[in-house]
């Protein structure tokens, strides 16, 4: 509505401007003509003689067309010497009188409408007053037409503006009410619903798109949470039941302090495992949900891996494994040091624990197409290709490892950390054995991430 009013106002002021501009222009033209005519008259031969001038004026009147000039020559005493102007008071300078209209069409009824004449009075020395005038009828007619059309146009525009405004606000309101309906439905639990967008790309659409993205994220979070709850319910029951069984058994069974001690030890270590699993689950959840305030910084990847290698060398040796490393120095990445360490340690420990004694474990850090790449590979039992996807699931254990200690959380944590760091993780068959490839984002991208965090 406001827009319609504003628009109409500006249109009106524009029209006023044009009208007066045109009127002024017309008047200018008329005056130019009058001046020219006056000059011509006064420049002729024998112009100094009133009679000659009078004669010339009469001549002109004779050959006069419609809406041509009007004249009056008045001697100093006030007597009209010549002219076709009606009676009236004339003076020097610009002035005007009203006369009857002369119509263009001869067969038109002459009406009683009056039009204005612009008059220029010039005092001629020894001759009196020469008045030359011209009709404004034509320009008046034109202006009238202009006004009429403008007026009509304005009315149309006004109607359009009001009508359009009404339509648009109705459409807007309709959109808004659609959106609030959808929001209410979402709040009542229909998480899959999204806000409607019209495709116009205007602000309302943009807001709706943003909110829809948020809803996508929320849906994902809720799914993750549901999954975690399910996983916990399902797979943590087992060790908890085991724990209970052991304690029950101890209670019912032997009475010696040594036996009790042993039962306690077992219970404690079982509990330890459960607590660890909880911690890992929580950590995965927090990483995936981005609620953990990541401490991202520039990290010397080469130094990190070297230190881990040095640390795990004796650990591998204890299992008769051979740990080899090939690390290109000076490679950096952008990430959270603690999480990266945890991820790499997870992979190395997996290799150490699940390979038969005497296997070979290789750690590599290279630069490939501007991207750092870490490879952890071993000559152990490997992972069957059809399980490459599944092993990253929480609590997933391979058949061959079901009897070894572990809770199946390790690789899920690795995947969560890799995703947070935009690292491409890939499993390949080493035949025999496993190759885990970690491709970090290009070193040039670190600057972009820097600006994002």
């Amino acid at each position: 509505m406001i827009y319609a009013a504003l628009f109409s106002l500006s249109a009106i002021s524009l029209l006023i401007f044009i009208y007066f501009g045109a009127a002024q222009e017309f008047e200018e033209q008329i005056r130019e003509r009058i001046i020219a005519e006056s000059k011509i008259l006064l420049q002729g031969p024998k112009a100094a003689e009133p009679a000659a001038l009078a004669r010339r004026i009469e001549q002109r009147i004779q050959g006069r067309g419609v809406n041509d000039f009007y004249y009056a020559l008045i001697d100093p005493s006030g007597r009209r010497l010549a002219g076709n102007l009606p009676e009236g008071s004339f003076r020097t300078g610009w002035h005007e009188i009203k006369v009857k209209e002369e119509d263009d069409e001869p067969d038109e009824e002459p009406d009683d409408e009056l039009t204005t004449l612009s008059l220029l009075g010039a005092r001629v020395p020894d001759m009196g007053l020469l008045v030359v005038g011209a009709s404004r009828e034509k320009s008046e007619d034109l202006l009238e037409v202009m006004l009429e059309t403008a007026g009509l146009g304005l009315v149309l525009v006004g109607l359009l503006a009001v009508g359009g405004g009404l339509l648009m606000s109705r459409a807007s309101l309709a959109r808004v009410s659609k959106i609030s309906r959808a929001t209410r439905q979402i709040m009542m639990g229909d998480l899959a619903r999204r806000l409607p967008t019209t495709g116009f790309g205007d602000e309302l659409d943009q807001h709706s798109s943003n909110i829809n993205e948020m809803l996508d994220h929320i849906e994902l979070l809720m799914e993750t949470t549901k999954q975690i709850s399910n996983d916990i319910a399902h797979d943590l029951r087992t060790p908890l039941s085991r724990l209970r069984q052991n304690l029950e058994g101890a209670r019912r069974g032997t009475q010696t302090v040594v036996a009790y001690r042993k039962a306690f030890d077992q219970a404690v270590s079982e509990t330890e495992g459960i607590l660890e699993t909880f911690d890992a689950l929580l950590l995965i959840g927090r990483i995936s949900a981005s609620t953990a305030k990541m401490r991202f910084a520039e990290i010397d990847l080469s130094q990190l891996l070297s230190r881990i290698t040095e640390t795990y060398e004796p650990v591998a040796a204890a299992q008769k494994h051979k740990l080899c490393s090939h690390i290109v120095p000076g490679l950096h990445c952008w990430g959270d040091k603690e999480l990266l360490v945890q991820m790499l340690v997870n992979l190395i420990e997996n290799a150490i624990n699940h390979c038969p004694k005497g296997s070979e474990i290789d750690l590599e850090l290279t630069l490939e197409e501007g991207r750092p790449r870490i490879i952890v590979s071993d000559t152990g039992l490997g992972i069957p290709p059809d399980e490459h996807e599944k092993v990253f699931r929480r609590f997933y254990r391979l058949e061959q490892s079901r009897t070894t200690p572990g809770n199946g959380i390790g690789l899920a944590l690795v995947k969560a950390i890799a995703e947070k760091h935009h690292i491409e993780i890939e499993l390949k068959d080493r035949k025999p054995g496993l190759i885990v490839s970690l491709r970090f984002p290009a070193e040039t991208l670190t600057a972009i991430y820097e600006s994002m965090t």
């Binding site: 404690v268 509990t271 607590l275 911690d279 230190r307 004796p314 603690e338 420990e349 624990n353 200690p405």
Partner: protein
């Protein structure tokens, strides 16, 4: 990180059923005479005055008994406000503060104390094991952070490590334990004049042990301080690396310096040393 529990060192809870909170100094010293516990770590302990701010009765009983048995004087309060009053009005050697307290919370207490210029060592106890929680605790002015549940030996070792000793205040460039010398500037190690080659992580490990000479350091402390692992590894990282360090600094020599303390951790000292 949560220190691993082990089955061998639970404080004997059967000893006292009632929690004697607000025990006065004399009362406490009289009731539980100092006794040598299973861990020989007590050779390094000087009796300390400890303020324990903990609202969970089980935990505070557990700690009170354990620490008193070590020969320390322990005062227990159950809420933050009383804790703050005591901490600012009396002198303690160590504060053990639970993060979650009724009234004023643990973090605020320590922040206030630090704000007043008090540099008393503070150990936080908490059930929260997030990275952020840990950093928050240390930022607030805490010196160490222990996640429940924990084994008593873990707490004992960390409390001992927190004691400020005058000798530690000055900057050292050379660390020494008997005939084992570490030059911190040159980054070199030798024993009985013979140079020992160590990798960067081995050096870090030995440095930490030497800085804490005579004190028991637990596995968890080593994992956190030397390797900066804030998680529990699934392999015997500490054992394997200690073992390797031993072959370099102990095996070729007659006197053993790096000892394993069953149920607690490791200590670098000369056997039979008392101080």
């Amino acid at each position: 990180m949560r220190a691993a529990l082990n089955g061998t060192d639970y404080a004997p809870l059967g000893r006292s059923n009632k929690l004697t909170a607000y025990a006065s100094v004399d009362e406490a010293a009289g009731r539980y005479p100092p006794r040598t516990s299973a861990a020989p770590a007590s050779t390094e302990i000087q009796t300390m005055k400890i303020l324990l701010i903990e609202d969970d009765r089980e935990t505070s009983a557990y700690l009170f008994n354990g620490l008193q048995e070590e020969g320390h004087t322990v005062q227990v309060v159950e809420n933050g406000r009383d804790g703050l009053i005591l901490a600012t009005s009396e002198d303690y050697d160590v504060l053990i503060v639970d993060r979650m307290l009724p009234g004023v919370d643990g973090l605020s207490i320590v922040k206030t104390i630090r704000g007043a210029g008090n540099q008393v060592p503070v150990l936080f106890l908490t059930t929260m094991n997030g990275i952020d929680d840990r950093v928050e605790g240390l930022d607030a002015g805490g010196d160490d952070y222990l996640v429940k549940p924990f084994a008593f030996s873990e707490l004992r070792a960390r409390v001992n490590a927190l004691i400020r000793r005058p000798s530690i205040v000055r900057e050292e460039t050379v660390l020494q334990v008997v005939d084992l010398e570490m030059d911190l500037i040159a980054r070199s190690v030798c024993r009985a004049g013979k140079k020992i080659e160590l990798g960067p992580m081995e050096f870090r490990l030995l440095e930490y042990l030497m800085r804490n000479k005579g004190r028991v350091v637990t596995r968890t402390m080593l994992l956190e301080r030397v390797w900066e692992f804030n998680f529990e590894p699934k392999t015997k990282v500490v054992e394997a690396n200690i073992s390797r360090l031993r072959t370099k600094i102990d095996k070729p020599f007659s006197k053993q310096l790096l000892h394993t303390v069953r149920g607690s951790g490791y200590v670098l000292k000369s056997a039979g040393e008392t101080g």
